[in-house]
Symmetry: C2
Subunit: 237 residues, 2 copies
DNA sequence: CGTGCAGTACTTGTATGGAAGCACTTGTCG
DNA sequence: CGACAAGTGCTTCCATACAAGTACTGCACG
């Protein structure tokens, strides 16, 4: 896209880096952040760090309590459900707008993507990256690629919950199969079938979450207005 | 909601104020902003102003060009269409999840709202505020009130376009009638009817935009990568 | 008169120093 | 021993100074 337009700036780097760390659970839900610490460890001043935290706070990925502290937000079950609803509504509606003739370039890309999803020895993050691209390209097929951006921004909590779900022995192969069926229905021109399979797929993803929530409740927010805990002294190394 | 939780902070005030000014067109699309000027006129330092602009930039309501300037973003036809798609998908899907027994409190609120929409002498901003609440409450009926927040955040461009559309002699009465029909279908338990009327309503809103775009093209972005113009020297007084 | 170049006035980005506030710790007094 | 209060150390917020970069302005020169 307008890649040359966006000048490289320290804030953008830090923002993307922190965001990735939160989404991949490298920064665990509930972890305490600190402008000073982050600034020191990232080698910049507090300003770009602080501005990044503010952006992440607007996305709901961190919580900032004035004069108290900043924390990686716990996975909120309500927000997960909201993101699920939003995503389902948008992705299913998008299927209704599929054109008669699919863009062969995107279809080719989707097929390549699917093949890579089946590659053995795929690690979790690689699979998630492919999954993200797959769903985005599906929406590009119907000309709603930009709306995927909004969905992607809103589903931070959902993504973290999914990563928790795949933390164990879950295999991504099941999801890859579902992806395959969805694409098959689309290329067959079977819109109702595509809708049904897409809905089943998204719900399957969602159902995993309740399972993991029962297993690791401490990563989820119990109360919408959670009380922040003071920084636990964690000596690393 | 958690009103007492959010402490009053200078940044939050400024952010909300600027956002309102952009959405109500008090700050016209394309207008040049300046951290220094805004800070001076708002009586604070650059910091909270700057942080607010960064947030608004993430919402797409302003554009910040490093070392060049900040500008109220022009209404982007693409973003308007994206917002329309998103909103339609979410609001229509929400209707599918309506419970058998509607919350009487919300229904009552919706009825009161409708009555006020018909009050003669209603000005534009009053109508928009009521419209906003009406659609939000509709989603609350199906338990998706939180998702409205996401939609509301994404439809900034759509809202500005709508305000342009109602700048002329348009009467909100037509929309109030449509609102009435939607609510009637819902309380009758006629979900398909509600869907159809809601879709017509949202499309009617959208169609107005193309009309106004033909009339005032300068407020719309011609090119996705618009070239910012240097601040025009406007001496006031 | 046209053209190029240096100067200037502005912009946002980053760094840094208090200001204000919260929570825990510790000492003191009943 | 228990309770209360001052102290300490941390946090984020805000203000401000400087750095880096852009675009316009006006003058000199061909």
């Amino acid at each position: 896209m307008a890649q040359s337009n966006e000048r490289r700036t320290s804030r953008r780097d830090i923002y993307l880096r922190l965001r990735q760390m939160v989404l991949t659970l490298e920064l665990a839900p509930g972890a305490a952040l600190s402008e000073n610490e982050l600034a020191a460890s990232l080698g910049v001043s507090r300003t770009p760090v602080r501005e990044s935290l503010i952006l992440l706070a607007q996305e709901g990925l961190v919580q900032v309590f004035p004069k108290i502290g900043s924390f990686v937000s716990r996975v909120d079950a309500g927000q997960v459900a909201d993101a699920q609803f939003l995503r389902e509504a948008v992705e299913l509606s998008s299927l209704e707008d599929l054109p008669g003739q699919l863009d062969p370039e995107i279809v080719e890309e989707l097929r390549n993507n699917l093949e890579r999803q089946r590659r053995p020895g795929l690690d979790r993050e690689e699979f998630f990256a492919l999954d993200e691209l797959f769903h985005r390209d599906l929406m590009r097929l119907s000309g709603h690629g930009n709306s995927w951006t909004t969905v992607a921004a809103a589903k931070g909590h959902l993504d973290r919950a999914r990563r928790l779900g795949l933390h164990g022995h879950e295999s991504p192969a099941v999801f890859a199969d579902q992806h395959h069926e969805i694409l098959a229905a689309i290329t067959d021109g079977d819109t109702p079938g595509a809708r049904a399979r897409m809905r089943d797929h998204l719900r399957a993803v969602f159902n995993d979450i309740e399972r993991i929530r029962a297993r690791s409740p401490e990563l989820f927010a119990s109360d919408p207005a959670t009380v922040p805990v003071r920084r636990n002294v964690v000596v690393w190394e």
